[in-house]
């Protein structure tokens, strides 16, 4: 008895009970559809979080001062003054996997222009900063090294600040604003970035040369943090190590001393958030798998009913030459056809549902090949696993008893 004949026999037997076959399949169909859809939603939200974090600059590395103690009191890291401009120079000198680096000093205050005013944050940075943070200049120009050397009173405005201070002006470029009594000439406007993942408005900022902020507003010589950009996402980790080494040299730390600064890369942030949404995906997948399991039990149930109902048929098949293993294969193939057929339909419906949700509700969904292959394999395994026992029962029947079964 070859597989082709057995498949034919199984298909005919299923054809005699179309409604029942379909209802049994439905369990698997629903299971696979939900597994694929849930995994697509999980994967989609994971990727959307990753994308949002990347939009802040995927290669970005941030250096903040570490905590330290002064006379037994632990100090707030943000009030530390351990980072200096020399550190930036050291990074530029020693870190070969860093493509751009910018110091950062920021302070908040009221920006005033004409009759309008708006509380915002002014960030003192270098000309490389927009590249690091993936910011673009929409109008006007970015300031240059020339402005930094001279601590020029120029600035670029974020879109929110523009809207608040110059609601009726066609462009803010060329206007003058005042920040803590210092007049700044607006030389550019930044392209809109919207809110980030954490709900912060990324457009509510003013960028100015760091020298200007240090000397003319804050009157300090230290910097609050350093923003750097690795040459690529892959080399982010190497760049992080190089920065750490460069800062240890520049801070003259001995072997046994701990770092007095912290280096964090965007990649770490991504992996932290990814693991959260990974959990979500696993949870959704697990819940959906339960329906697949229930579908499998449905197959087993129907197969048992089928074996009992068809006892005489089994007896006849044995009498005309069907061996035990032929009967076993027949019922096993029936179960596998139901589960794999249901799996195919389920994959199709899962795709339709996933992309439907994506298009109609605008949810981020991503169907991965793995989720299709996985749920399909699970189907085949479910068919064999839950079909095996009823099939064994069928093949173990005694032909004499089976033929006389009423």
């Amino acid at each position: 008895m070859n597989l082709f004949n057995l498949t034919k026999i199984a298909l005919k037997a299923m054809g005699r009970n179309k409604m029942r076959t379909f209802l049994t399949m439905l369990g698997i169909i629903i299971g696979v559809t939900s597994v694929i859809t849930m995994l697509a939603i999980g994967q989609g939200s994971k990727e959307s979080i990753q994308e949002q974090i990347s939009s802040m600059g995927a290669n970005m590395i941030m250096v903040h001062p570490g905590s330290d103690e002064r006379g037994g009191v632990m100090m707030d890291p943000s009030s530390m003054q351990t980072l200096k401009l020399e550190d930036v120079e050291a990074i530029q000198k020693y870190a070969s996997h860093v493509s751009a680096v910018s110091p950062m000093v920021s302070t908040s205050g009221q920006a005033i222009a004409g009759s309008g005013n708006w509380p915002t944050t002014i960030q003192g940075v270098s000309e490389d900063f927009p590249d690091i943070r993936k910011m673009e200049v929409a109008e006007g120009v970015m300031f240059t090294d020339y402005h930094i050397k001279r601590a020029a009173k120029v600035c670029l405005l974020g879109q929110t600040v523009v809207d608040e201070l110059f609601p009726y002006k066609e462009t803010a470029v060329g206007e003058t604003i005042r920040f803590r009594k210092v007049p700044f000439k607006v030389i550019g406007v930044l392209a809109e970035k919207g809110q980030n993942t954490f709900g912060q408005d990324q457009d509510d900022i003013i960028l100015a040369p760091y020298t200007t902020i240090q000397k003319r507003i804050m009157a300090v010589t230290h910097i609050q943090s350093v923003y750097a950009s690795a040459t690529s996402e892959m080399e982010s980790e190497q760049a992080e190590e190089e920065i750490t080494r460069a800062l240890r040299i520049s801070h003259e730390l001995a072997e046994n001393e701990e770092n007095d600064f912290t280096v964090r890369s965007q990649q770490e942030l991504i992996s932290t958030f990814s693991s959260t949404s990974q959990m979500l995906t696993i949870l959704l997948g697990a819940i959906a798998s339960i329906s697949l399991l229930v579908g499998g039990i449905g197959i087993m149930n129907i197969m048992f009913v089928s074996v009992t109902e068809r006892t005489r048929e089994i007896g006849l098949r044995m009498a005309v030459g069907g061996r035990s293993r032929d009967i076993l294969s027949q019922f096993l193939i029936e179960a596998v056809i139901v589960s794999v057929g249901g799996g195919l339909i389920g994959v199709f419906l899962g795709l339709v549902l996933s992309y439907g949700l994506g298009n109609i509700l605008g949810w981020p969904v991503t169907v991965t090949e793995q989720s299709i292959v996985l749920s399909f394999m699970v189907c085949a395994v479910v068919g064999i696993f839950f079909g095996w026992y009823p099939a064994r029962k069928a093949s173990g029947l005694d032909p004499i008893d089976a033929l006389r079964y009423e």
Partner: protein, 237 residues
């Protein structure tokens, strides 16, 4: 000289029922030659069903030898028995045992489905030929519920013939039919026998025995009579 299709010697079949041993068949010996039409008669409990199961290679004797077409069936495995049933025996049952919602043609094809040496084209040809022999060539596409009892039994007989068996084994094949149809079916068996088929018919009805050439009578697991039928069968009595 026709050779022996069946050679049975000193056959014994015991069943263990609890602590007791029931001797269903004791010291049964007989032979069936090619082209014989044999009836095995016996009341219920005589052991005829047990003998039928053994003859049909569905069961094995406790002791003794059973040669079917020169093969000693007594020491074969379950799978080997299945192959013997598939190639050497054609079964006809009392309740037809046709697959529901399956055409007559496909029902007849069934035994050949379990013989991988036969192509699907040959399978179809042989099944059509078998249906033609039983006179149902025009009912090939009909499902069992669209056929009368007699027609259903003809389909079952065609199924028994399709693998060209050395022996057709009928188990009360007319038990579910009225007397007119019984006559038709028995005439069909006689015709098949005339054309060279060896037929073994198991029944408890005396009238049926009249159609055959030879009768073996069983009682309490033993053969008590074995005689050649002479003259024409009793018609319609």
């Amino acid at each position: 000289m026709p050779h022996d299709i069946i050679k049975i010697s000193n056959l014994r079949r015991d069943f263990n029922v609890g602590a007791e041993t029931v001797h269903a068949l004791r010291n049964v010996s007989f032979g069936v030659k090619e082209n014989e039409f044999l009836t095995i008669m016996g009341t219920s409990g005589s052991g005829k069903s047990t003998l039928l199961n053994i003859l049909g290679a569905l069961d094995k004797p406790t002791e003794g030898d059973y040669y079917l077409d020169g093969i000693n069936v007594s020491n074969l495995s379950k799978d080997e028995l299945a192959v013997i049933r598939n190639r050497k025996i054609g079964f006809v049952f009392q309740s037809f045992n046709l697959l529901p919602r399956t055409s007559a043609l496909e029902n007849v094809e069934l035994p050949l489905m379990y013989n991988s040496g036969i192509s699907s084209r040959r399978r179809r040809e042989q099944a059509i030929e078998a249906l033609r022999i039983v006179g149902l060539a025009d009912r090939m596409k009909h499902a069992p519920n669209q056929l009368s009892g007699g027609q259903q039994q003809r389909v079952a007989i065609a199924r028994a013939l399709v693998n060209d068996p050395v022996m057709v084994l009928a188990d009360e094949a007319t038990g579910n039919l009225d007397s007119k149809t019984t006559e038709d079916i028995m005439s069909l068996f006689r015709k098949l026998n005339r054309e060279g088929k060896t037929i073994v018919f198991v029944t408890h009805e005396h009238d049926i025995a009249g159609y055959s050439k030879r009768t073996i009578v069983l009682r309490d697991g033993e053969i008590i009579d074995d005689y050649e039928n002479t003259g024409r069968p009793a018609q319609g009595s």
